[in-house]
Symmetry: C2
Subunit: 158 residues, 2 copies
Amino acid sequence: MDYSHNMIRKFRERGLKITPQRLAIFNLLDGNTGHPTAEEIYSGLKKDFPNLSFTTVYNILKSIKEAGGIQELLIERERAHYDPDVSLHHHIICTRCGKLRDIFYTNTSEMRLPDDILKEFSVTGHQIHFYGVCRACSENEEEEEGKTAVPREGANAN
Amino acid sequence: MDYSHNMIRKFRERGLKITPQRLAIFNLLDGNTGHPTAEEIYSGLKKDFPNLSFTTVYNILKSIKEAGGIQELLIERERAHYDPDVSLHHHIICTRCGKLRDIFYTNTSEMRLPDDILKEFSVTGHQIHFYGVCRACSENEEEEEGKTAVPREGANAN
DNA sequence: AACTAAATTGCAGTTATTACAATTAAAGAA
DNA sequence: TTCTTTAATTGTAATAACTGCAATTTAGTT
Ligand SMILES: [Mn+2]
Ligand SMILES: [Mn+2]
Ligand SMILES: [Zn+2]
Ligand SMILES: [Zn+2]
């Protein structure tokens, strides 16, 4: 609710119109910690907007991003995930099943970049992505391995 | 040279054959700090292997990655970049032109993850990506803006 | 109610990556 | 060296996420 109102305000400030599709996406994103993909957002709205276009979803996400209302997570090759929480936090994804979780990181060691980088780039943001294998996936794997080989402990490299 | 020999050894250990295409990719990657894409690797070898297949490039990159010889950088939506330097360092990319640079980060504040994450995931790695606008691009932008509006200082958000 | 610029829609592209079957070739044995 | 086996490479077709664009609709204003 709060998120939606903020976005409405931001969109108005930017001279963008408030359409039902935009409102619906604001509402879908509001408090959403699931890091949805464009496809998931599209599916989520399809019931209420039977002839919603994918193009519209992409357009709206682009506008929201430009207004600072989401971050686009480039954490897996196949597709982008969208996160309405633009505060400082990191993410971890299971490279087997794609399970994606927030990491609210306490160790606030300020990212101080080397001077030559700061001279060459005007930095706008950063993302920290962790990769791993989740419980469920490593247990499944053990089972499958078990048929032919000796099961190992959960730790294995990417 | 050293990189190639290591990769040859690693491939042998894993029972993989040493083919001319594989050798050529090892050599292309050896000491390569340019973070090439699959397409750039393909083009780089095309002179020596006129009927090299893209599939081969992707297959070989996959094998090298599985052998720990490269990291795949998922830093921009469009394509993956490959980095034969698998030691701890970060990257920054210009969101306008795609210029991609290493950041050798000194501040070694050990990434200590929250316990609930460590309980749920067996972590295999992480990547830190910075986004920004490079000198050349922000200067170009000023020029273009200058035609209609007042030029600003270099700092602008994504 | 009428107007107009902007948003949405429906498709048709684009592009990186993957799947797969047929051909070729590396590596080890004879 | 030649033979054999098995994996690697090739060529091509498929996939899937995203983008471009022209036509239609609509939000916001008068
Ligand atoms: Mn998040
Ligand atoms: Mn690098
Ligand atoms: Zn998993
Ligand atoms: Zn640039």
